[in-house]
Symmetry: C2
Subunit: 343 residues, 2 copies
């Protein structure tokens, strides 16, 4: 099947073609860039939602509950679970997948786990490209869940329209965590497992940290906890100029607070659209994507089509003897690349 045919069938939403296209893209198989290129004009309909947070925050359960909620509203939902976790804790992912059972057999739901393959950088870009396939295939919501820790969270927020940061009461010290880029990139905070002690305290801490960051003028009425208990939805305030991330309380395992999270995500989407931020984000994403593709293509050229690797092999003894440094050789190699020495 040619890339063009796969693309046509993806655009028609054919499940088998979607699965196939995702595999082609995930594994960087021949023609994957042509396929993505063919899908490019058809992107932008899906809302991409990133769900991130520390291990044990219940991200998979949250993702499952969101999936159920969107399905109940008649939408098609894709879930991409990114797992750059340590091999030491590799068991966790399997557990998560098992917990997604309630939606795994629903034909309106597409679930894909992506494991670390080579570098995190490579994983981040191929995750974004897999999301493109799912967007082109007509899924209304694409939920990207990162099971990992660290850099991966930042990478997810960079690809999402809305980033949800899930915490648990035991996460503690919201203010300290806020120093990191991850919390700054969050559009919504969820304190999951909020029936455990410490949830209101963590909520206050996060709100306080947001006060410090945003200035007190954007202070929310801290009513989310009460709203959860009374079952009412309190959408966060919308302001064209800036978005104050709401701090929601959920007990995903009991489906508590999930409707409020859906409402908050809708409110964020409205703000994104009204403020022009959606367009800005998507433009930034396109620029970033182009840079990544240039980097990848450049590496392919340098290592598979130029003489760089040969030059290293030929000079390795000299480097080992200390008569040439890796830096000097690299300078030579890059100079010859720049001069357009043909291969």
């Amino acid at each position: 099947m040619s890339e063009a045919l796969v693309a046509t069938q993806v655009l028609a939403g054919k499940v088998a073609a979607v699965a196939r296209a995702v595999s082609i893209v995930e594994n960087g198989r021949t023609g994957f860039e042509e396929l993505l290129s063919a899908l490019h004009p058809h992107l932008g309909k899906a809302r991409r939602i990133g769900i991130t947070g520390p291990p044990g925050a219940g991200k998979s359960t949250l993702t499952e509950r969101l999936t159920q909620a969107y399905r109940a509203a008649g939408m098609r939902v894709a879930v991409v679970a990114v797992d750059p976790t340590s091999p030491f804790t590799g068991g966790a992912l399997l557990g998560d997948r098992i917990r997604m059972e309630s939606v795994a057999l629903d034909p309106g739901v597409f679930i894909r786990s992506m494991a670390t393959r080579g570098s995190l950088g490579g994983l981040a870009i191929s995750t974004r490209e897999v999301c493109d396939v799912l967007d082109a295939a007509g899924f209304d919501r694409i939920l990207v869940e990162t099971v990992g820790v660290g850099q991966s969270e930042l990478d997810v927020t960079r690809m999402a329209d809305s980033s949800v940061l899930a915490l648990v009461p035991e996460s503690g010290d919201g203010i300290q965590a806020l120093k990191s880029g991850v919390m700054e990139a969050a559009d919504l905070f969820v304190i999951n497992k909020s029936d455990r002690p410490g949830a209101p305290r963590l909520q206050r801490e996060v709100e306080l940290a947001l006060d410090l960051r945003m200035g007190a003028s954007h202070r929310n009425v801290p009513a989310h906890h009460g709203a959860l208990r009374s079952g009412k939805s309190t959408p966060p305030p919308v302001d064209d100029a800036s978005w104050r991330p709401p701090v929601l309380l959920t007990v995903a395992s009991q489906n508590e607070g999930v409707a409020e999270l859906v409402a908050a995500l809708d409110a964020h989407w409205e703000w994104l659209s009204a403020s022009g931020e959606l367009e800005t984000r998507r433009r930034d994403r396109l620029a970033q994507r182009t840079r990544e593709v240039v980097d990848r293509a450049t590496r392919r050229w340098v290592w598979q089509e130029s003489h760089a690797e040969e030059a290293i092999t030929a000079r390795l003894d000299t480097i080992g003897a200390g008569d040439l440094s890796p830096y000097e050789l690299a300078t030579e190699i890059v100079a010859s690349l720049r001069e357009g020495v043909r291969v």
Copy 2:
């Protein structure tokens, strides 16, 4: 101070110059590659030891105990703590540093923590370059401890002469973990906190997994636990053809098993030297370093000195309108780079 002068002072082992050179290299400041180039002929004296493992394995305590042991033998020791951890668990590092107190003020010990800065890839290469500075400065042992999880462990093993994988009885399931590249890259296994239940079982599991991997002919007499209890050192068997990683039991907080670990590291070094593996590893490392430097220099050229970024900015509207894909533009940009279009 010029790079040449800094290099001269580093080679003379001047502490202030070492700290300065480490900062220059860590932050990629002007002249850092010239500095590393000047140090390159003087590398190779230090033994580089990586200490990795899951959070809570007591890596910092092990590192501290090893440092004390090497100091007692009159050696100079450098410790590089790499922390690509999640911002969510960012508190851990501080705790670790406090536990290193017993050696922090010793002038024969140099300690540096390195935090994630940009991508993990960038952290990995700058960690290796910092180790070069410390090697050139005449430290006898360089201990690189990764606090993180995931890819970082693999990166550390790639830079070390000897890789220690620290586990704890609760790590459980050695066989499952062995599937990962991390365990395969380990030269020595340490089951720390081995006074807790489950240590002998984990030791048996890891030994069994090593049997499966290496063939039963390399089976060790599983005497390390007994040796620990009786205070005797049992160096692992040395075989010119292959190295069977020993599985040692330690209680680093009580300094139990540390002498045995030092002996096992010496035995590994002897095997590395006698088998030719040391030379192979160091050659591979030099080739890998050169590739990384080429990649870094290529990116610098593409993004800071070519027209690539301009081209993206100029065409972003067209991409956003769906009339051009990021892949098509990237292909154009790389083609112009390859043709040696001058800037």
